[in-house]
Amino acid sequence: MKTSAAAIFDTYHLAVYRYFRRLLGDREAAEDLTQEVFLRVIRGLDRYESLGRESAWVFRIARNVFFDNRRARRPDATRLGDIEACGVESDHVLAFDIQEALRLLSVHDCQVFVLKEVVGLSYAEIADATDVTENSVRSRLRRARLQLRASLRGRLVKSSMRDSGEGQG
């Protein structure tokens, strides 16, 4: 059964918008990129055959749109395989909010974290959307969570056990 573009839009537009909103932090840019994603969806719908991984297909397009936009803004950032760290030792930097903390992550770790925590994709879907293995998804997610935990430790729930852990260190 062929899925219509309108149905895909209805299902995913909010998740795609929030994905960009969280990655970019800018509402207008998020709307522009979301629009671009669904234009590509409309164009690619004839070639797409539903294999049960519709979400992965849509977010693979979203990821490509994100990197295309990133390259357009930063022509030097052309190597997608590179971990584009921001040059900050984030373990020692406190972020004001989650948006700021996400900027301290590498772009690939950030992608995986947002796809999991904001969009709610499974590991398999994230692996499909980002062209990596599930083990890579697990390790990126672990890295992102630990780094965010360190950056946002002032804003996260303080448990007595963590305090005791710091006391041990």
Partner: protein
């Protein structure tokens, strides 16, 4: 805490499959509870304060979804028409070439023209020499009478194409009749 313990706790939090023994071992780690609580708090923060797109966005997308881009629509509508046009042009071309080749079949040619020397004129306008069969042929200089006195219209050289061979000649009706050369 080892990475595999953190991965197991993450997987449990994310609803993924996790090996029970490994999960039990991970939960037994000293800061497992704090880690889980922090990860849950991160999830809350990541999903918080996320607004919806503006009304302008929805208006634009409604237009785009109901009316795809002009370029793609033109391309899609033009493709079958272009194919049809190509077939029509090809059919005309084939018909023209067929007609041209039939115009040169012997059945359509005028009866052989006899030159004053008595030899039949060749179709290319090269007539045998009057000096005899052994002499080199000479191009026929015969031309029909022109002007008001002549019954025939002035000769108009026409160009025929026959299988890639270009040949300038006169229509058969323009050729002089037997003994017409003066």
């Amino acid at each position: 805490m080892k990475p595999e313990h953190i991965d197991a706790l993450s997987a449990a939090l994310d609803g993924e499959l996790v090996e029970p023994a490994l999960l039990a071992e991970s939960l037994a780690q000293p800061d497992a509870a704090a880690l889980l609580a922090n990860f849950a708090a991160l999830r809350v923060l990541a999903g918080a304060d996320l607004d919806r797109p503006s009304d302008a966005f929805y208006a634009t997308m409604a237009t785009r979804l109901t009316r795809p881009g002009l370029g793609s629509r033109l391309l899609l509508s033009f493709r079958p028409r272009a194919m049809a046009a190509c077939w029509i042009v090809a059919a005309f071309l084939a018909g023209y070439l067929l007609h041209s080749s039939r115009a040169f079949t012997p059945a359509n040619q005028a009866p052989s023209i006899v030159t004053p020397a008595g030899a039949p004129a060749s179709r290319s306008g090269i007539a045998p020499s009057r000096d005899g069969p052994g002499s080199p042929p000479t191009r026929s200089t015969a031309s029909p009478p022109t002007g008001r006195s002549g019954a025939r219209p002035p000769a108009v050289p026409s160009l025929y194409i026959r299988f890639g061979e270009w040949r300038e000649t006169e229509p058969p009706s323009m050729r002089p009749a037997a003994g017409g050369e003066k």
